[in-house]
């Protein structure tokens, strides 16, 4: 047993962090938006092909490495259907930009950017042409980086995989979304701590006050607890996937909670400035809320864990 990052996992973490620092600086991202160059940087860093077998040009890695990578992407709030494209490529799709949606979902993200939509249901995975999805844009956007459409009708599509792969894809989607959310939880903790060290009131840094310290300590607790759960679920998916369902549900619900609560706490620590549009903190909160509803809500995952008791 070695339940901490190994040297190659650290190297991957560093590589993704450096790529994000270079291409996803948040102020620049807000000013210029997502673009082809940024998408290419993600592709070049291996984001989409981490789990594609080496003989097909991928890196041949597992969920553990991938979760570590997605945690870093979450720290930088990397926008776009990154997870969906990753999941699609891992299942053999070759399109550049891939969307993934549950059948019956009322919304779909990034529809206008997609080359293909993969629909997940109990019977399998289904390929749908984006032009065949009848949907209307939802305006104004809640998360500026996540354009969403209200789905009016979703075609059945062409079947590309059966129920077991659909079930596995759902677990993988949940764990990687959870990893991204852990990144949000960790980044907002760092932002709150940095601000609490520097912001002076009553003649001292606000971080010297226990009330603020305890907010920050609780952020760290939520983040570390969720991270341990996500890493455990990712390891189980690699090691004995048949037993990973409960761990995955637990990881997603704890990550949902950690990301939303930490983003709120970060705004609270920043006080009035945290409530401004100009400060980027609301972007973490809004993305956390969007992702908390993807690949299973907190309530759904609570029910899933309860069913194992």
């Amino acid at each position: 047993m070695n339940f901490d990052l190994g040297p190659d996992e650290r190297a991957l973490q560093d590589a993704i962090r450096e790529m994000c620092a270079r291409h996803f600086e948040l102020d620049d991202l807000r000013a210029r938006g997502m673009n082809a160059e940024r998408w290419a940087a993600l592709d070049e860093a291996g984001t989409f092909t981490l789990r594609v077998p080496e003989q097909h040009g991928g890196l041949g890695l597992g969920m553990t490495h991938t979760a570590i990578a997605f945690e870093q992407l979450g720290r930088s709030l990397v926008p776009g259907p990154v997870l969906e494209t990753h999941l699609g490529r891992a299942r053999g799709a070759t399109e550049s930009v891939i969307g993934v949606v549950e059948r019956g979902a009322s919304t779909i993200d990034h529809l206008e950017q997609l080359d293909v939509v993969v629909v997940i249901d109990a019977d399998g995975l289904w390929r749908v042409a984006p032009a065949d999805v009848r949907a209307e844009p939802i305006e104004p956007r809640f998360d500026p980086f996540t354009p969403q459409h209200q789905i009016r009708s979703m075609p059945q599509g062409e079947k590309i995989a059966g129920p077991p792969i659909a079930a596995t894809s759902r677990l993988e989607g949940a764990v990687l979304t959870a990893a991204f959310l852990v990144g949000i939880a960790a980044e907002t903790t760092d932002l709150a701590v940095a601000y609490a060290q520097q912001r002076q009131q009553f003649g001292r840094p606000i971080g010297a006050f226990q009330a603020v310290k305890h907010l920050c300590a609780d952020m760290a607790v939520r983040g570390e607890v969720a991270r341990a759960a996500v890493y455990a679920a990712a390891c189980l998916l690699d090691e004995e996937a048949g037993t990973a369902a409960r761990a995955t549900a637990g990881a997603k619900l704890l990550a949902n909670e950690a990301a939303v609560a930490n983003a709120k706490a970060a705004i609270q620590v920043h006080g009035g400035m945290g409530y401004t549009w100009e400060m980027p903190l609301h972007l973490y909160l809004k993305r956390a809320a969007v992702l908390a509803a993807r690949f299973g809500t907190t309530h759904e995952h609570e029910e899933a864990v309860a069913a194992t008791l």
Binding site: M1, F3, D4, G6, G207, K213, H214, E224, V225, L309
Partner: protein, 381 residues
């Protein structure tokens, strides 16, 4: 990262699993909760059984008579012991987890020879004399005085929260040897034999009705100077060494027991019809997820301890979250069971009350948050 155990570790697990049932069959019936002499003899008999089988002091260094097993092996042993329903460390807690490792790290060879083997064999039971009525979270403000008189320290003062004092042979005692020095610089760590004249132990009663804690009044107790661990006035540093052994795997048994408690509460909820309430199911699901995550966190701590040989910052994270989860579990249990009538010996009712002690003992949740914020996150004092 890899959650799988090595073949050697799995062999160890198999050996422990094969050994436990036979060993447990030799134990007498479990003594009553308040039968302290009975609990002492039960716990020490189990310790002797562990010793004879080569499982005593698994996590202690080999030099100290321990097994020098890796934290992973220790984790495996604790997991198997809990699964088999083996006794907890019980009245051996202070000896095995506090005093023993401290003496192994800081004691002289003579002290190690005198005190360590009896702990491992279950011959001597220890208690802790650290806290005082005026020194709880601010432990360093303790005032129990020790005056040097030739080869002895003469100790007077009052201690509190002394676990198992009524059946202990020895006490790890913090005393003030220099009242004029800054508070952290005038403390000394002593070993006090509990049969010395001048010691008055008065058991206290907790909100759960139990009496594991005592007040201890010391009046001119003459403790030989050779019972001092480390230098005079260096006791605070040594106490920090003592506390460093308290973290890591100390909660493994409790954590696994909590998981079973959640399972039994789910069973009760089904019998009561409360399972039809989605809110109840979700609360239970969430609690189970939290406990699973704490188990994962324990494994991360074990790996980090193995890599750096000191428990990392995750100890405070664990204790804070475990306390909160136990409170939530108890709150839910009491909400479900109170309409049927509660008794003080119902495991869920006791667990609910016990949760209060988890968020208070060994550093309150508020102190833990300060530690986490200052030492890990780097916020200013």
């Amino acid at each position: 990262m890899d959650l799988r155990f090595s073949a050697e570790d799995e062999d160890f697990r198999a050996r422990v699993r094969a050994w436990l049932p036979g060993a447990l069959a030799t134990l007498p019936p479990t003594p009553g909760v308040e039968d302290w002499p009975g609990r002492r003899s039960y716990d020490t008999q189990w310790q002797r059984t562990l010793f004879d089988a080569g499982f005593a002091g698994l996590d202690w260094p080999v030099d100290a008579g321990g097994q020098g097993a890796s934290p992973t092996r220790h984790l495996i042993f604790l997991e198997e012991a809990e699964r088999a329903g083996a006794p907890y460390v019980g009245t051996n807690f202070v000896g095995l987890l506090h005093a023993g490792p401290t003496i192994a790290a800081e004691g002289t060879p003579e002290q190690q020879q005198r005190y360590l083997p009896p702990i491992l064999r279950g011959d001597e039971v220890w208690c802790q004399g650290f806290s005082e009525p005026g020194a709880g979270s601010d432990l360093a403000s303790l005032q129990t005085r020790a005056l040097r008189d030739g080869d002895h320290y003469v100790v007077s003062g009052q201690k509190i929260w002394t676990s198992h004092a009524q059946v202990a042979d020895l006490c790890e005692l913090l005393v003030r040897t220099d009242p004029d020095a800054p508070k952290h610089k005038g403390i000394t760590w002593l070993i006090m034999p509990m049969d010395l004249p001048g010691i008055d132990v008065r058991p206290m009663r907790t909100i759960a009705g139990s009496s594991e804690f005592s007040e201890m009044f010391l009046d001119g107790v003459r403790i030989p100077a050779q019972n001092r661990i480390g230098e005079e006035n260096d006791g605070w540093r040594i106490a920090m060494v003592t506390f460093s052994f308290e973290r890591g795997t100390a909660f493994v048994g409790e954590l696994l027991a909590s998981m079973q408690l959640v399972g039994r509460l789910a069973e009760r909820a089904r019998k009561l019809g409360a399972w039809d309430d989605a809110g109840v199911r979700r609360d239970l699901g969430h609690l189970a997820a939290d406990l699973d995550a704490l188990w994962a966190l324990t494994k991360r701590t074990v790996t980090q301890t193995e890599a750096t040989s000191v428990p990392g910052p995750l100890g405070s994270v664990f204790k804070l979250h475990y306390s909160e989860v136990r409170h939530r579990l108890g709150d839910l249990a009491v909400k479900l069971l109170a309409p049927q009538g509660l008794t003080l010996d119902n495991e869920h009712a006791r667990g609910w009350l016990h949760a209060m002690s988890i968020s208070i003992a060994a550093g309150t949740s508020q102190i833990q948050r300060n530690i986490l914020a200052e030492r890990v996150l780097g916020l200013p004092k």
